[in-house]
């Protein structure tokens, strides 16, 4: 873990440049360019609001905001993972020719998506104001679930990027895993709909605690319990320890398999 901080600090300029490169390439050749990072989530939010606000009515008040409070962090997680799982293999040409620190590739993929995610919070705040939903003071608590979320994503990114070098099936499996995981997490529904006896299974989901932190502070205006906060940070730290541990152990032989 300490090693990771040292490496990240040492290569911070490279990671940042690669992350910006990824975003720049994503939005290159489009007329609106970087604005898409804001427009994309905004459009999605407007559609969701229309669908759930007027067409399908749920028993949940302001369902769009209820949904978005967890959907935005989830989208970040799933996009960052989809990008980073291919990040080592995708840079094969480079890795075979020059000595580069391998950790910068999954790292840059995650950082690029962090920027995207933070930008998507702006349209959310805008939507909340427009819908006259209260903009809770608990937003200032958001950095804590964010730390948990970013750590968990980074750990998973290292984990799957490393395995994908040896088994290319992983990138397909990750896609399936992500969609199963999405429905297994209470994102489009609330845990209150689920009979109490099943809650134990939901608690095994390491993403639950982090996602909960987002929904509580954005939608309910509440703070999670100390136990839940601790769990969300612990899941993040554990993911990094396992994911980066695996990545570091095998990074020297990546070059022979790509």
């Amino acid at each position: 873990m300490l090693q990771l901080f040292r490496d990240v600090y040492r290569y911070r300029e490279l990671i940042w440049a690669l992350a910006l490169k990824e975003l720049r390439v994503r939005y290159k050749r489009s007329v609106l360019g970087f604005l898409w990072a804001l427009l994309n989530p905004l459009m999605m939010m407007i559609i969701l609001t229309l669908v759930f606000g007027s067409i399908m009515r749920f028993s949940i008040d302001h369902y769009a905001i209820f949904l978005l409070s967890m959907l935005l962090p989830w989208t970040f997680f799933s996009q960052a993972l989809s990008y980073s799982v291919e990040s080592v293999v995708g840079n094969a040409q480079l890795l075979k020719k020059v000595r580069v620190p391998k950790l910068v590739f999954p790292m840059a993929a995650v950082v690029a998506n962090i920027i995207n995610f933070l930008l998507s919070l702006l349209p959310l705040a805008l939507l909340i104001v427009v819908l006259r939903f209260p903009l809770h003071w608990t937003w200032i608590y958001l950095p804590i679930p964010m730390v948990g979320l970013f750590l968990f994503t980074l750990g998973s990114a290292f984990f799957f990027a490393a395995i994908n070098v040896f088994f290319r099936d992983i990138s397909h499996i990750v896609q399936i895993l992500l969609s199963a995981w999405f429905y297994a997490s209470p994102i489009i529904y609330s845990l209150d709909f689920i009979p109490k006896k099943y809650h134990i299974f939901f608690r095994l989901n390491p993403m639950l605690y982090v996602l909960n932190g987002f929904r509580l502070s954005i939608y309910y205006g509440l703070l999670p319990s100390a136990g839940s906060i601790a769990m969300s940070l612990a899941c993040g730290a554990a993911a990094v320890a396992i994911g980066f541990g695996l990545f570091r152990r095998y990074q020297d032989i990546f070059v022979f398999y790509i």
Partner: protein, 260 residues
């Protein structure tokens, strides 16, 4: 500096032969299921117990046929491969001119690529900003520097890559058959720059098929054959033994353009 710039001691580099490793989970499961050991592959030894020293300030040539292990040596020095056994010591900053422009992204402009490539080569952002004007000038790119590199001619592309790679002020320069690059005028400039490095007492390691380059540039030459070090001697002598080995009928090889 008492230590040599590069020291190889008993270096062995083996590769798994690529078709026989399980590439997918299915294959891995099949192997597991049949209780076959996963290591049904055979190892190919690209380098067999190679030892040599390169003192600081030496220009060393490496010759040998295709597939003899020359480029593997350069890649080990560059840190791309970690050798299977033996020890490698490298003292000094390396500029690998192995595959020029390997880190270039086609959608990005020349200037953006200078930054990323420089960072990949281990420079800091500040150093790159300081070096940028000199890099652009040497590459003779002109106003194209702010156009995406996919619009560059292959000559411009190589010039920019060479310019970035040599701007890092290396102690050790690794060159793999790249000097057939660009037009005659630019080649002269490249050789001039490499000549300058030599005069400054930098270490240069050059892989080439071109007998003239080896003869003109190098103080010493290694002859590699099938992963074994056949000779570590003066360039003339190594070249003579190489000629003998491949037979006199071999036409002078035109070194291939490096692929991207």
């Amino acid at each position: 500096m008492a230590n040599p710039a590069v020291r190889f001691q008993n270096v062995v580099q083996s590769f798994r032969v690529i078709q026989e490793r399980p590439d997918t989970l299915r294959e891995a499961f099949v192997h597991f299921h049949r209780r076959k050991p996963r290591s049904t592959h055979h190892n190919f030894e690209a380098l067999k117990h190679i030892s040599f020293d390169v003192p600081h300030g030496t220009t060393l040539g490496i010759i040998g046929r295709n597939g003899s292990g020359k480029s593997t040596i350069l890649k080990i020095i560059a840190g791309v491969y970690r050798p299977s056994s033996g020890s490698v010591e490298v003292n000094g900053r390396i500029a690998p001119l192995i595959e020029l422009g390997a880190g270039f992204h086609h959608e990005l402009t020349g200037r953006e690529n200078i930054l990323i490539n420089g960072l990949l080569l281990g420079l800091s952002k500040r150093e790159i900003q300081r070096l940028e004007p000199a890099i652009i000038e040497f590459a003779e790119i002109g106003e194209f520097i702010d156009a995406p590199v996919k619009q560059y001619s292959s000559g411009m592309y190589m010039r920019l890559a060479f310019s970035v790679a040599t701007a890092v002020d290396p102690d050790i320069l690794l060159i793999d058959e790249i000097l057939s690059v660009g037009d005659a005028g630019f080649r002269v400039k490249c050789f001039e720059r490499i000549g300058n490095f030599r005069e400054q007492g930098k270490t240069i390691i050059l892989v080439s098929h071109d007998a003239e380059q080896i003869r003109d540039f190098c103080d010493r030459a290694l002859l590699i054959h099938n992963g074994e070090l056949i000779a570590d001697t003066l360039p003339e002598e190594a070249l003579a033994r190489y000629q003998e080995m491949i037979g006199h009928h071999q036409p002078r090889t035109v070194s291939a353009l490096p692929g991207r």
